[in-house]
Point group: C2
Chain length 303, copies 2
Amino acid sequence: MKEDSITSWFSQQSSACSDAFPIGIGDDMAQVRGGADGTVLITTDMLLDGAHFDLSTCTPEQAAYKAMAASLSDCAAMATVPVCAVAAVALPTGFGEPELKQLHAGLVKAGQKFNCELIGGDITKWRHTEGRFAINVTMLSRASGYHPPVRRNGAKVGDIICVTGSLGGSLGGKHLNFTPRVAEALAITKVAKIHAMMDISDGLSTDLNRICKQSNVGAVLLAESIPVSDAAQKTENPLESALHDGEDFELLFTLPPDEVEKLPELASVAITKIGTITSNGRMELKMPNGQVKLLAPRGYDHL
Amino acid sequence: MKEDSITSWFSQQSSACSDAFPIGIGDDMAQVRGGADGTVLITTDMLLDGAHFDLSTCTPEQAAYKAMAASLSDCAAMATVPVCAVAAVALPTGFGEPELKQLHAGLVKAGQKFNCELIGGDITKWRHTEGRFAINVTMLSRASGYHPPVRRNGAKVGDIICVTGSLGGSLGGKHLNFTPRVAEALAITKVAKIHAMMDISDGLSTDLNRICKQSNVGAVLLAESIPVSDAAQKTENPLESALHDGEDFELLFTLPPDEVEKLPELASVAITKIGTITSNGRMELKMPNGQVKLLAPRGYDHL
């Protein structure tokens, strides 16, 4: 009964309070109190060894941290408050209790920054020797109470497009240890009305395209305004890297011009205005010489 | 942008009403209205090709059906009402749009029996050619309103132990097309007070042991009362098969003797009394000749 002893260990590590979580780890389901509005939000993310991280160059703890942080970044993308997560793993041959405890450490490390409790999970093992590690995190959040969850489909013509932080070159290291912009999203929406927001996971060009498509608008970006990361500066084409690399886990959002002045000064990260929402349905990139080019969504496609 | 076109297709298939699901497929998170008591319950299950099903002998639709049905069985195990699910998949090389549509069909087939909406997901793909199909389903349910969610830790000395249906031999076929006992669990808890319940996924002996451990009690089963399935009857040792095979996805529950007479006649499946909860902390099996043997938890261990 190795599985039950691990489940029991996981349960003992939990500090989930019984008011917020009437039923915790170790039953058929966990029970969670929702937000004051009677709703919860949910996101699920599957991360695979060899695709989203590589266990030949990172630890199980780092992989689990990334999985949890990626879901936290989804909570940030909606400007919602993380509540709890469940994690399911597919273990390769040779993984046992030590690796499970490392995975637990990574999940908790990411979650505890935002009071996001691990309240359940599932442990499975591949039967074939080539089976590689996979981890799925499903997270629940609640509305902040002062700003509705920010969707992708609310961008309006004339909106200013902003991003947090700098973009590109995340695979050089940031993708394993980034801080999800949960606090920043909540701080921004506390003082400004945001029309559309998401986190940049598949690349600025691909993710902005999603906002444009869902909002039925276009966008023009100013090439010289795009914040290029130090890691991207070292690549052959820093601007391309910032536009398409992905895994930045920064916030991409649009808001009316008269809301821009309300944006807070964040201690953690800069907010940069990078363009404007347009009516023509196209994504465009305005170069420093004034030339306007079409901007294609050339970020990451999971298929 | 193949991924976006698939996501869009998934979204178009959805009939989730906007009152229950203010935000559906296609955003960073979906939004779900919880139960009247302000809580939701959550379960997550990872199923792997080669471990929980075998795609060389079953279809992607069957695998997805099983994944969704296993989570529905967890809802049944707590006597709660399924609300919605998110599904994440890791696709092997060669899987594309046709397989994704088959997976969708399997998920919807299982969910729609119980008005359980698919409201989100994640699609990923293995980079190595040996990567096999994995599917994770996370499901939310709500309390029934007439009986609290039934936990594993509430069994009391003197309780009668019951199961639905018959046990053993599920791997012969039932494990791919079983009907989760959602309706039965709700019907039972509508008329009788249940102390402890779970679904039998890892085998009667292993799952009853979980109820005993968590409830700090023992149990004695009557060998001749255990309902052995037709499939198990064909095996070398039908009783052993019924006790340990697992994947029955039947309900295992305990209730006070004076509640037993309230149990309903179910049109779908029989309810059988198989034993009694005891105070000695042991699991025992009483044979037809009167001999009492220790019953070890010898069901499936995922590790």
